[in-house]
């Protein structure tokens, strides 16, 4: 039962809702989803929704967390409206995400802020830590 719970918990939990304000101007939300792995801090997945981008590739774009900065691999093509899945395989170096909380910020190649996502104990967190959900589940 416990193992099953864990397998269900894997990669589920930080789902961030966003609404595109469909008017002029439009609110962009690049980071559309984050999945964390309860067993592996390097097993995360970030989904990017590129509603609009000034660049045709994500060359030089980078992600910062509380303790780390990593560049996205060169050659990741973007097209308008595309959903891109980013994992450690798509980065120049390995990134670990703490289950307790992080602020993940996305910058373009010029270092301009594109989007951010905070969860858990990070300041201005938009979602609880998956640990909270796991704790609740185990208490059952």
């Amino acid at each position: 039962m416990k193992q099953m719970s864990r397998s269900l918990l894997l990669g589920l939990f930080v789902l961030i809702p966003w609404q595109l304000v469909q008017t002029n101007p439009i609110a962009l939300k690049f980071i559309s989803e984050l999945q964390l792995d309860a067993q592996d801090p390097e097993g995360w997945t970030i989904e990017l929704n590129v509603v609009w981008s000034p660049d045709s590739t994500l060359d030089g774009w980078f992600i910062t967390t509380n303790n780390d900065t990593v560049f996205l691999d060169s050659g990741i093509q973007v097209s308008e409206g595309a959903y891109l899945v980013i994992q450690n395989d798509n980065l120049s170096s390995t990134l670990s995400l703490a289950m307790s909380g992080e602020t993940i910020t996305l910058f373009n190649s010029s270092g301009q802020w594109m989007d951010a996502l905070a969860y858990g104990d990070a300041e201005h967190a938009e979602a609880p830590s998956p640990l909270v959900l796991m704790l609740k589940e185990e208490q059952r």
Binding site: M1, M4, S5, L8, L9, L12, F13, L15, I16, P17, W18, Q19, L20, V21, Q22, T23, N24, P25, I26, A27, L28, K29, F30, V51, W52, P54, N108, S110, Q112, W113, M114, D115, A116, H124, E126, A127, P128, L133, K136, E137, R140
Partner: protein, 202 residues
Amino acid sequence: MKSGKTEQGRGAHLTMLLLFFCSFGVENLPSQTPIFLGEDLVIYVSDSLCVLRGEYHFLNPGTTPIKTRLYYPFPVSEELPFPDRVEVLSMESGALLPLLGDMRGVSFVLEIDSLSQSSIYVEYWQTAEYNSFEYILTTTQKWSRALEWATYEIHVPEHLELEYCSLALDTSWVEIEKMVYFISRENYAPVKNFEIKWGLKL
């Protein structure tokens, strides 16, 4: 077998519970997108140029600050080339906001404190050789909510006349050497873009 079925049943039950928790959590997260309250636009037409000066008002109803990137598209076509000049200012600080852009629009970052309102001022100059202008108001179907208000002023110099406006005019008045047309809407969820055409007064 019986035990296995029970275990399967529990598994399904647990799945339902987990999905419930996820959905519950998602629905109760503070919104990270501001509410677009309203806009006040003034459009100045001339023989071959159109200038738009717009104020856009946003609200952060949440208890955490919002930082979000906005994209401001332009209707770019053969008749309406990309604007010659674009400026975006924070109306609170008066500071020019750094712009990112491509051939169809510009992007900038909007920051709003918790439980606060913020406004931006946008001005752009667009060549209008064909004496027509279009302002993008995308369809209502995907809107999360209607604008609480929208006002549009069209300033037409006296040697020109407004030949077409896609929105019904509310009122008009004469100012020095020009005519001003005014449109006001509340709870406004437009279904088509705002278009105007003008020509020489006969």
